[in-house]
Amino acid sequence: MIDTTQYLVLAAVLFSLGVAGVFIRRNAIVIFMCIELMLNAVNLTFLALSRNLGKIDGQVFVFFIMTVAAAEAAVGLAIILSLYRRRQTLNVDEVNLLKW
């Protein structure tokens, strides 16, 4: 039986890598993948704590998170497609319409 702390540390490392990726990458699609990685790290936390607490509810939440991630991927990639059609770029530094 592996200690829950180990799972939590691994999830934290993966989440931090996702955050780092969002900060250092400029490609919109890769930033999107980093967000998926962060969602997965959270899923791992849910499962580890679900086992720790001895309740299966955490797994139901992971199920919902996966559904939301799928919906998010579909909508996000549609936004990226229409962005590319308009601007011919995926570099987030060049997409600055909402900045003042």
């Binding site: 039986m1 990726g21 990685l37 499962l47 998010e72």
Partner: protein, 168 residues
């Protein structure tokens, strides 16, 4: 045994997520992310969530990543690599590690099933699997969120079509 599995999959997950954020080519990033997802699926089995491990492989590594790769190919973002020297190395590494992880996943699931040492054993009533316990909870206590999720998916489909559809 469990420790070995945990460290192996954990280290593979960390290494490949590092590669994902460091690779310049989006296609390579996507492939590395698939490997991360599969190694996380092995960890899910270790945690006693066999059903979610299967869903992780089918939905994440299957559907979502195919969607990503589809968009990358559609936007022709991989031109830079074709001119580069060795794109094959990443592809080979990813496919090798990925195949190994899938085998490991099957081995873990099969092994735990045979030995009856599921981490979830205490959570599910005797003789019923993790899937059944999950379904019973999902269709009783969490019925309303489940129905709301279906509305969310419908909204996402409509939104995606509206956003990505051709406008003349």
């Amino acid at each position: 045994m469990e420790q070995v599995m945990f460290w192996l999959c954990g280290i593979i997950a960390i290494i490949f997520s590092l590669m994902m954020i460091l690779k310049r080519n989006p296609v390579h990033s996507a492939l590395c992310l698939v490997v991360v997802f599969v190694s996380l699926a092995v960890l899910y089995v270790l945690l006693g969530a066999e059903f979610l491990a299967a869903v992780q492989v089918i939905v994440y590594a299957g559907a979502i990543m195919v969607l990503f790769l589809f968009v990358i190919m559609l936007l022709n973002l991989d031109q830079e690599v074709r001119s580069q020297g060795k794109p094959r190395l990443v592809l080979k590494t990813c496919s090798l590690v990925g195949t190994g992880l899938v085998l490991l996943l099957l081995l873990t699931a099969g092994g735990f099933r045979a030995a009856g040492v599921s981490g979830q054993q205490a959570l599910a009533p005797a003789g019923t699997g993790n899937t059944r316990a999950l379904a019973e909870l999902l269709f009783t206590k969490y019925l309303l969120p489940f129905e709301v999720t279906s509305v969310l998916l419908l909204a996402a489909i409509v939104g995606a079509i509206v956003l990505a559809g051709k406008k003349e």
